[in-house]
Symmetry: D4
Subunit: 242 residues, 8 copies
Amino acid sequence: MSSKESHPDHKPTKADLPFATVDLDRARRCGRPEVIFGQGKTAEQINSISNALLEAGQAVLITRTSQDVYDFIKQKHPYAKYHGDALCITMSLDDTESNIPSNPRTICICVAGTSDLPVAEEAAVTAEFYGNKVERVYDVGVAGIHRLLAKQDILDKADVIIAVAGMEGALPSVIAGLVAVPVIAVPTSIGYGANFQGLAALLGMLNACGSGITVVNIDNGFGAGYAASQITQLLIKNTSQD
Amino acid sequence: MSSKESHPDHKPTKADLPFATVDLDRARRCGRPEVIFGQGKTAEQINSISNALLEAGQAVLITRTSQDVYDFIKQKHPYAKYHGDALCITMSLDDTESNIPSNPRTICICVAGTSDLPVAEEAAVTAEFYGNKVERVYDVGVAGIHRLLAKQDILDKADVIIAVAGMEGALPSVIAGLVAVPVIAVPTSIGYGANFQGLAALLGMLNACGSGITVVNIDNGFGAGYAASQITQLLIKNTSQD
Amino acid sequence: MSSKESHPDHKPTKADLPFATVDLDRARRCGRPEVIFGQGKTAEQINSISNALLEAGQAVLITRTSQDVYDFIKQKHPYAKYHGDALCITMSLDDTESNIPSNPRTICICVAGTSDLPVAEEAAVTAEFYGNKVERVYDVGVAGIHRLLAKQDILDKADVIIAVAGMEGALPSVIAGLVAVPVIAVPTSIGYGANFQGLAALLGMLNACGSGITVVNIDNGFGAGYAASQITQLLIKNTSQD
Amino acid sequence: MSSKESHPDHKPTKADLPFATVDLDRARRCGRPEVIFGQGKTAEQINSISNALLEAGQAVLITRTSQDVYDFIKQKHPYAKYHGDALCITMSLDDTESNIPSNPRTICICVAGTSDLPVAEEAAVTAEFYGNKVERVYDVGVAGIHRLLAKQDILDKADVIIAVAGMEGALPSVIAGLVAVPVIAVPTSIGYGANFQGLAALLGMLNACGSGITVVNIDNGFGAGYAASQITQLLIKNTSQD
Amino acid sequence: MSSKESHPDHKPTKADLPFATVDLDRARRCGRPEVIFGQGKTAEQINSISNALLEAGQAVLITRTSQDVYDFIKQKHPYAKYHGDALCITMSLDDTESNIPSNPRTICICVAGTSDLPVAEEAAVTAEFYGNKVERVYDVGVAGIHRLLAKQDILDKADVIIAVAGMEGALPSVIAGLVAVPVIAVPTSIGYGANFQGLAALLGMLNACGSGITVVNIDNGFGAGYAASQITQLLIKNTSQD
Amino acid sequence: MSSKESHPDHKPTKADLPFATVDLDRARRCGRPEVIFGQGKTAEQINSISNALLEAGQAVLITRTSQDVYDFIKQKHPYAKYHGDALCITMSLDDTESNIPSNPRTICICVAGTSDLPVAEEAAVTAEFYGNKVERVYDVGVAGIHRLLAKQDILDKADVIIAVAGMEGALPSVIAGLVAVPVIAVPTSIGYGANFQGLAALLGMLNACGSGITVVNIDNGFGAGYAASQITQLLIKNTSQD
Amino acid sequence: MSSKESHPDHKPTKADLPFATVDLDRARRCGRPEVIFGQGKTAEQINSISNALLEAGQAVLITRTSQDVYDFIKQKHPYAKYHGDALCITMSLDDTESNIPSNPRTICICVAGTSDLPVAEEAAVTAEFYGNKVERVYDVGVAGIHRLLAKQDILDKADVIIAVAGMEGALPSVIAGLVAVPVIAVPTSIGYGANFQGLAALLGMLNACGSGITVVNIDNGFGAGYAASQITQLLIKNTSQD
Amino acid sequence: MSSKESHPDHKPTKADLPFATVDLDRARRCGRPEVIFGQGKTAEQINSISNALLEAGQAVLITRTSQDVYDFIKQKHPYAKYHGDALCITMSLDDTESNIPSNPRTICICVAGTSDLPVAEEAAVTAEFYGNKVERVYDVGVAGIHRLLAKQDILDKADVIIAVAGMEGALPSVIAGLVAVPVIAVPTSIGYGANFQGLAALLGMLNACGSGITVVNIDNGFGAGYAASQITQLLIKNTSQD
C-alpha cells in the first residue's frame, strides 16, 4: 500500500495546534469525526480544538467537561448546547442538528440505578450526536427483575442495547437472555467497599453468562455510545446500498 | 461467666490424637458437632478422627474427600455413605439417620449452571446432614431468567435459600428480589479468564444490589449449608419452645 | 407462574419519579419496604422518594445521609429522627414507631474497636427499624480476648449476632466458636497500609475457620442489619403460625 | 407483558436432562440456539445435550472440547465435524450446512501472533457456524506494523472485525484507527510474567485509545464470534426487511 | 575498595562452587551459618554445598528438601538426620548435636490447624538446630478459643512465641494479647478460594490489632525459626556477658 | 484455667468510657500499657482515655496525632510533650520520664530516605517511651551503599535494628547480612506509580533474601518500636534475673 | 571496613544536613550528580540541598517541584530556571549551561497524547540537563498510526527513543518495530477506570511484543531521561576515547 | 515518507508459512534478525521458521526451547548448538559464529542467586548471539553485600550491566549506585509466598531508588540481552563512523 494513494492531498488531514495534532482525516477513515475528551484540558484548549474541527466542517462533541467550560465556549459559539447530566457539550456551525438522518436507528440504554445516570447520559448524548434515536430505560436493576421484564416491548424494538450498571453489574447478562440484538455493557464505578471503583461490575460483565455481550471500560459511556453507533451506521449504510 | 461452669467435667471435651485436637465439646457450644475437612488428610487420619467423634456419640460428616477414602472408611464403618457429586461421606454408629427431626425445615438450593453442581451438592449434603429438607433448583442462571421465574412457587416455600453461581455470580441478587427469606450466596470458581478462580463471582455477590444477601467463601458449599442450618435450627428450637 | 396473579392491580406497585422508579411492591414481595441509600442523592431527591414511600403507607429508612439532609427533611417531616452515629434518618407518618412487635427478637452487635462504631450503628439502626431489640457489645477486639469472653451471657441470649471488625477482622471467627446462632460478619475499612481499605478484614472473614459465618460487603452495616432482620422475621412469622 | 403470550406452548421450550436444563426456546428469544460449552463435561453429557438440540431441529456447536470427545460423538453422529485448531465440534442432522445464507456478511479476524491461533479459530468457527464469511488475517502484531497496514484492503471489506491478541493487546487500538466498522477485541492469555494470564492484554484493550472498541473475556473466542454474528444478523435481517 | 583489607585472610570466607558462592564468613558476620534452601537444587548440588559447609566446621541445615535427597545424602553422611514433617535435613560431622547449649531458651510454636503442621515443623527444626528448646502447642485455632486459653501456662514460660496459621490468620493477634514476649507470625498458604494462597492470612497478620507482632513471608517457617533464634541468642549472649 | 485466678480483683482492669473500654490490665498481661492510636479520635476522646490511663498510674503514648490535639492536651496536662516529626504525644503524671531504666538497651533505627522520617520517628519515640536508647542512622538507602557501610560500627552496637524504607524496601535485606541481631523491617508508603502506596516495599521486605527479617505493616513505626521493645525488655528482665 | 580507606579524603564526598546526607561523590561514582526529588520537601530544604551541590561545583536539577518553590529559589539563585510543563527547576552557579557538549547526542521523545505531556517534559528537561539534544514528537498515539509513521525520519536520526504513553501503553511496541536503537518506555497514569492509575500502561509495556524495550516506573519521566542519558554518555565517552 | 522507498523489492521481506509470517526484513529495520520464541511451538514449526531465516542468510536464536527440540533440530542442522542452562539453541549455516565483531563490547550479567541462573543464561546467550563479550558475576545477592563489592573491578569494565534477581529484587538498585553505565534489571519468578511469581521483584525494580535503572518483564532474560545489545551496537556503529 502506498500511503500516498490512501491519503489524497486535496484537503488538510491534520491541524497542528501547539498542544495537539487534531486528526481531521479521522471522519473519512473511521466513519466519524474525532471527539474531544474534555478532562484535564483548559477551556481555551478545548475551544481551539473545537474551532479546528468546525472549520473542517465537522460537528463537535466534548465529553467529561463542565458548566464552567460551557460558559466559556458559549460566548464564542452561540449554538453550543450543554448536556448537564452527561457533562457533555455538542455544537455545530449553525443551529441545525445536521447529522441526524431521516430514518434513524434505535439504541436502547438500560440503566440499573439512579447513580449510574451520568454514565448512561454520556452514552445517550454520544448516540444522539451520531444520529441515533435513543430510548432510555432507567432504574431497572436486577434486584427488582419485574421492572426490567415490564419493558420487554421497548427492548424488542431496539437495534442495539447499551446496559449500564455498577454494583455487581448483572444487568447485561439478564438482558442478553431476553433479546436478539447486540448488547454493549458499561460497568460504572458506583458502589463501595469490595466494589473497588467498578472492578466488581467490570469483572461481572466480562464473565457474564449471557452470550454475545461485549464490554467497555469502567464509566466509559462515550465508548459504548460510539460502538453502538458504529453498528447502527452499518445498518444505515446497508439500507441505502440495497 | 465462670469458665468452670460452662465446661463441666463429666465427659471428655477433647480427644487428643497425635495430629489433631478433636473438639468434642463443640456440639454443645455451637449447636452442632465438628465436621472433618477431608482435603489434605490421609484415609487413616480421617478414620481416627471419625472414630473419636463416633465414640462421643456424634454423627460424622467428611467434606472434600474422595472415592478412595470412602473405600477405606467403608471397610471399617459399614454404615458410611458416599455422596459422590458432593465428594462427602456421612456416617453414624447405626443405620438410622438419627438427626433428622420429624418436622424438618426447607432449604432451597438454587444453582446457576451444571458446572456449579459439586459445590451445590456439598451444601445440600451438609443441610441434609443437619436434618433439613433440601429442595434443589438447578440450571437457573440469569441468562435465561424465565427458568428461574418458573420456580417461584418452590422459592416461596423455602425457609432459607442458598444461591450457588460461578461466572458473574448474579443469581443471588435476582433471587433476593423475589423472596422474603434469607439468601446465602456461594460463589464458585467456575469460569475462566477474568473470572480469576471465582473472584468475579465473589465480588459480584458482595456487591449485590439485592438487600440482605450474605456471602461465604468461594466454593464453600459446606459453609453455606452450615449457616443455613443454623438459621433453621433457630426455627426448630423456637417452635418447640413455644 | 402468571405474572398477573402475583402482581394484583388493586394498588400501585411503582412510583415513577423523574430520577427513580420506587419499588412500592417490594414490602409485599420481600417482606420489607425499600430503603433509601442516601449517598450521592440530593436532599430534594431523598425527600421525594420518602414522600412516595410514606404515601404508600411505608416507614422510611435513609442510610449514608448527613446532618444537612436531615435539617432539610426535618422541616417537611416533623417526626423524622436523626441517628448521628449511624448517619441514618428514620421516619413514619406519625410519631409511633409502628413496626416494633410486642415480642421482639434480639440481635447482638459485637464491635472490635471504637473506629468501627459508625458501621455498627448503621447495622443497629437498621435492625431496630425492622423491629428488633439490639444489644450492643462494643470494643471487644480479639487482642484483649477476655473482654469478649466476659460477655458470653449476652451472646448466649441473642437470636443472631452481627460481628463488626476492621484491621484483621478476626472477631467473627472467635465468636462463631462461642455460640450456636447465626453470625453475620461485617468487615470495615478501618486500618491503614496493607489493610487496603478493608480488604484484609474482608478476606479474613471469608476465610474464617469458624463454621457458618456469612459475610457482607465492607462497611455494609445496613446489609448486615437487614440480613439479620430477615432471620428474626422468620422466627416471628414462625411463632405466630404455630 | 404476560409471560403466557411470549411462551406459547405449541412446542417444548426446555429439555430436562438429569444434569442440565437445555434452553430450546433460546433460538427464538435470542436469535440463535444454545451452544454447548464442552469444558468439564463428559462425552456422554455432551452427546445427550446434542441430541436434545438436534431433536429440536437446531444445529449444534460444541466449544472447548477435544479429539477424544469428537471420536465418541462421531460414532453416533456421522455428520459431526471436528475443528482441531479451534477445539470445536459442529454438527447438524444431515450433511448440509443449513444455516449459511446465500448472501453472507464478512467478519475479518485479525490475530497478533501464532500462539493466539486457537482463540482466533474458536471465533472463526463460531462466526462460520452462524452463517458468516470469515477472512483470516494472521500474524499481524503491532511490533511489525507494516504487516497489518499491508492488509488494509481486507480490513476495508469487512462488516465487523475481531482483533485477537495476547501480550500487551495493542492490536485492536491500531485497527480501530484504520477502519469504520465495529471492532471486537479478544485478549488472550498468551504471554508470561507480568502478563498475569491475559490481564495485561485485557487491561490494554479496555483502555484502548482507539474509539468504539468493545472487549470480551480473556480467551473468549466464542463470545467474540457470537457478538460479531449478532451484528451481521442485524444487517441480514435489515436487508430482507427493506 | 580491596576486599582483602576488610576481610582478613586467616581463613577462607567463600567457597566457590561452579553453581554457587558459599558464604562461609556468614557465621561470623551474622551469628549463624548459611542454610541451604533445598527447593530447586539437585541432590548433588546440595551435597556439594553441604561438604563445603562441613569442611568449614559448620553444621548443616537443609530446608524444603525431600526423602529422595535425604536418601542420597545419607549414603555420604551417615550422621544426616531427616525431619520428614518439616521436609528438612540436619547434619554435622559427627553424631553430637553440637550447637545445643546447656541452658537453652524456649521458643513456643503455636499452630492453628493440622494442615499448618509442615510449616510449623520447619520453624521447630530450625529453632532446635540453633540450640533452642521448642514447645509445640498444636491445633489451637481461634474458632475454639478455649483450646488456646487452656495453654496459657505454656505460653507464659516461652521466651519467644511463633504463631503459625492459615485461613484468616487470627491466631497471633489473640496470642499477643495474652503474653509479654515477642510474637512472630507465620501465615501459611492453607485455605482455598478467597484465601489466595495465603494472602488472606498474611494481610490478617500484618493488620493484627495485637501490638508488637512481626510477620514473615507465607509458609516461611524457616524465617520465623531463624528470627526467633536471633532473639534467644541475644539472651544467651547477654547472660554469659553479665 | 479459671479466669478468676488470672484476673485478681484487687484493682480495676477496665475503664468503661462511653466510646471505649480501656484495657488497664494490659500492662500486667502484656508487659506494657495500652497506647492511644490518635487517628480518627477527637481531642476530647484522647484526653479522656489519657486520664483513665494516668489515673491507673500508667504513662501515656499517643500516636498519629497532631499539633491541634497537643494544644488541647497541653492545657490539661502541663507535662505532655509533643514529638512533631513523629506526630506523637507522650506524658506522665509528673515531669520525670519514669520508665527509663538505668541500664537501657540500644535500638538502632536505620532509614533509607528523608521522606521516611515520620515513620522512623514514630518508631524512635515508641522505643524511647519504653525505656530504650535509640540510635538514628538516617539517609542510608541502598542506592549509595557506602553510606550504610560507613555506619557498621553503630550497627554493631545495637541490640535490635529497625530498618525503615519506602520505594523498593531493600534496606533490611542488606542490613541483615551485616549484623547478628534481630532486624525489624518497616515498609513505608513513600514512592509513586508502581509503588502502590507501600505495597512494593512491603513485598520486597517479606521476600528479603536476608535471613531472619520480620516485617510490620506499611508505615507502622509504632509496631516496630513496640516489637523491638519487647525484645529488649526480655534482655533487661533476663539480666536482672541472673 | 573503614570507610576512610575506601573513600580517599581529597574532597568531601558527603554533606551532612540535618535532614539529608547529600551524596556529593555520586557524580564521580555514577557519572552524574545527585538530583533533588522535590516532592514532599519544603522550599527551604530544597534550597539547602541545592547549595550543597552548587558549592561542590555541580549543576542542580530539581524535579516534581512547583512555581511556589521556584519563586523562593529564584530569590536566592538568579540563574535558576523554571520549566513549568515539566515541574522542574534547573540551575548552575552562573548563567552558562555548562554541561552541554559541543557534539550532543539526540534523544527523541515520542508522546501518545496531550495529557502525557508533563511526564514527557520531565524526561526532556532531564535529558537536556545532561547535555543531550531532544527531539519532541508529540500526539502520536497508536489509534492514528499514520501520525507516527509520518515521523519515521525523525525516529531514524535518534540515538535513543523515549516513548511516553498512558491508556493502553501501546506506543513503545510499535516504535520498537520501526527503529534499531534502544527504546525506553514510560507508562503514565493518564486514563480512568480499568487503567488503575497507570497499571494498564505499565503491564502493556512490560509485555510489549516489540523486542528490546525497557520500562521505568509509572510517570517516571526523570528516570527515562536519566537512563537515556546514561546511554548517550557511553557514546560520547566512546567517541572521545577513540 | 513513501513506504515504497523504504521497502525496496530486491529481496523477499516476509516468508509466509502456514502458521506464521516470518519478518525477514526485521534485521534491516531494527538492526537484528527476528528471534524464535520456542515456547508452545512444535519442533517441526521451529525447524520451518529456522529454515526460512537461514535461507535469508540470517543466524538463528531459539529461546525457551528444550533438549527434545534440539535433538530434532540437530538432525537437520549439524551446526546447531544447545545451551542447556539457558534453554536456547543457536545456529548458522556453517560453523563460524559469524556475527561476533573483532572488537566486542562487554555486557556484565550480575545474578543474585543460583536459582536465577536460567534467566541469566538466557540473557547471556542472547548477548553473545549478538556479538558481545559477556562477563558473568553470579551469586552476589544483596544479603551478602561484600560479595558484590568484591567485584567492583569487573563492574567498572562493563559497557552495560544486566542485573538478574528474584526474591525482593534489590540487586539493580545497589549496582546502579556503584557504576556509571546503563543497568537493565530482570526480575525473576524465583521465590514463594508473597513473591507472587516475580511480582515482588518486579515492583522492587520499578521502584528502585537507584537512578536510571530500566526494567524488562519477569524472567525475560532474552529481552534484557537484546536491549543491552542494542546499546552496545550503538557504540560499535558509533566507533566505526568516527
